[in-house]
Amino acid sequence: MRRTIVIASALLLLTLLGIAWWESRGIKPVALTPSLTGQVEFCLTCHADLPEISKSHPIETFGCVSCHAGERLALDAELAHSTMRGGKNPADFTVVEASCGGTDCHSGTEAIQRDHIQRATTSIQATYAGAIATIRFTYGAQPDLTARLGTTAIQDNQSTSGITRLAAFDPLQESNPAVQSFGQNCLICHLSSAPAETGSRYDHFTGCAACHTPTQAADLTSIDTSTSTRVHQLTTAISYTQCDACHNRGNYDLRTMTFQPRQDNPTDRLHDYYQPIAQFTKCEYTLDCIDCHTRTEAMGDGNLYSSKFDIEYIRCKTCHGTLTELPKILTLTDSNDIAFRQALLNPVVTLQPGVSVLVTEKGEPLWNTRLLLDGTYELIGKSTGQVFKFKPVINSSCEQDPEEQGSADCHKCHAVKR
């Protein structure tokens, strides 16, 4: 009996020593207490090597959990990741409100220009309502081009465009085979659509991250399609290659309602655009898309629209004016002007009160431009930092009709030979 007790005692001690040894070998948690939440999280135990996602979201302020969710105290990867929002992408539109929303963050009011989520989710890039309406109208499924359906059902009672709701487009509910095919084969290019293949030249995230998280090198010749280039980054310096992940992939064959990926492999930007007959001015192929197109054009203005043409308004004359008018100028005096915030987020230019910048017909400051003392203008590339100088049309030999300002009109004289 005594011997049994001794053996049991020895086994108990051995077991306890074993547990202590096992514990000492375990992962030592790396604690971080973000100032925003005040709650410790152990994510950096494994993820200390991740680069900070942006200057506006410093790790010591935001931590990881306020955006990604997850089990903040778990040291087991599976458990820690089990409740993450949106997998690796908390900016997917299905979870974006919980991840990025809040009145101080990205779902504030229009008045404080923090209604990003509301604008993006109702934008034409998210609803794809224009393409759906066009195809359904073409094949007789609806009597006009007014949008009725979107990629998902959405209601916006504040919309001033005349459209306050879109029902979800369901190809299976369509009677026309062409519209059905469109739904099955061509709905691959909106902000909630997954990319055809990750790591490719057309790789992108969904939701806000489709644009704001780079998946492509900023220049065509540096794109490496052999590996995934998804990085932990949020940026407003979006290169044209990122836009091209959706906007330069190939053609829709309207006879078969299938998407035909491009087969060529261009090596310079002028020949990169998939439409072989397309024309470009120098601006169009040397600037990045966001150098001209504004946040409102890209992300919407909060209204539901039937066509991208309802929200695109930048034209050549926005920067160059007409034969009779100089382009519109705004002198920045209000320190709360959105221009200063935009320049802070993408500091390719240092804006000071008193500087005069070009402004769109809707009053949006083109904060990366400025009027120079000699009456010419300067544009600083938002992604490249490259400086472009340009002149107004007035007093030039341009033969434009001020009322004809579409790109096709200007291409008549200014297209670069491809």
């Binding site: 005594r2 011997r3 007790i5 001794v6 005692s9 020895a10 108990l12 001690l13 306890l16 020593l17 547990i19 202590a20 604690a31 207490t33 973000p34 100032s35 925003l36 005040g38 709650q39 410790v40 152990f42 200057k55 506006s56 979201h57 410093p58 010591e60 302020t61 935001f62 105290l73 101080d104 963050c105 404080i112 923090r114 320190s335 709360n336 200063f340 915030r341 802070l344």
Partner: protein, 140 residues
């Protein structure tokens, strides 16, 4: 005179006692460690800034551990929290006031908002000089 050789019974008894005592100590230590485990240490709310005389008159000292800006003037000490009232980033101190590097909020030298998105002023912190000349700062 006792027998210098330990009997088998006493040896087993001694061994048992040692093993059980060691197990008890180890187990108790583990239990105490388990019960006293804190994933998060309570936030520090009081900071010892050493001697008040260490800070020159008309000086401005950034205290990164708080974070705060300690100002000594002719009338005494004052401290302003450097935690931005928008989302909690650490604001930078400039000759004109304070600037948040995250979202661009600006505050004047008194901590009042000049430019958003912050809507409320920076928090003024309590500073106390003890009888023996030590300077204490409180964040709560």
């Amino acid at each position: 005179m006792s027998d210098p050789h330990l009997s088998r019974r006493d040896f087993l008894k001694l061994t048992r006692t040692v093993l059980l005592t060691a197990s008890g100590v180890l187990g108790l230590g583990g239990l105490i460690r388990f019960l006293s485990y804190q994933s998060q240490a309570p936030a520090q709310t009081e900071f010892d800034l050493s001697q008040a005389s260490d800070y020159a008159p008309d000086s401005r000292t950034v205290l990164p551990d708080v974070p705060a800006l300690l100002v000594r003037t002719e009338t005494g000490f004052s401290a302003t929290s450097l935690v931005c009232t928008h989302l909690g980033c650490t604001v930078g101190s400039t000759p004109e006031g304070f600037v948040c590097p995250c979202h661009g909020s600006r505050f004047d030298s008194q901590g009042k908002v000049i430019r958003g998105p912050a809507a409320t002023p920076l928090v003024l912190l309590k500073v106390k000089t003890t009888e023996d000349g030590k300077l204490l700062l409180f964040t709560n």
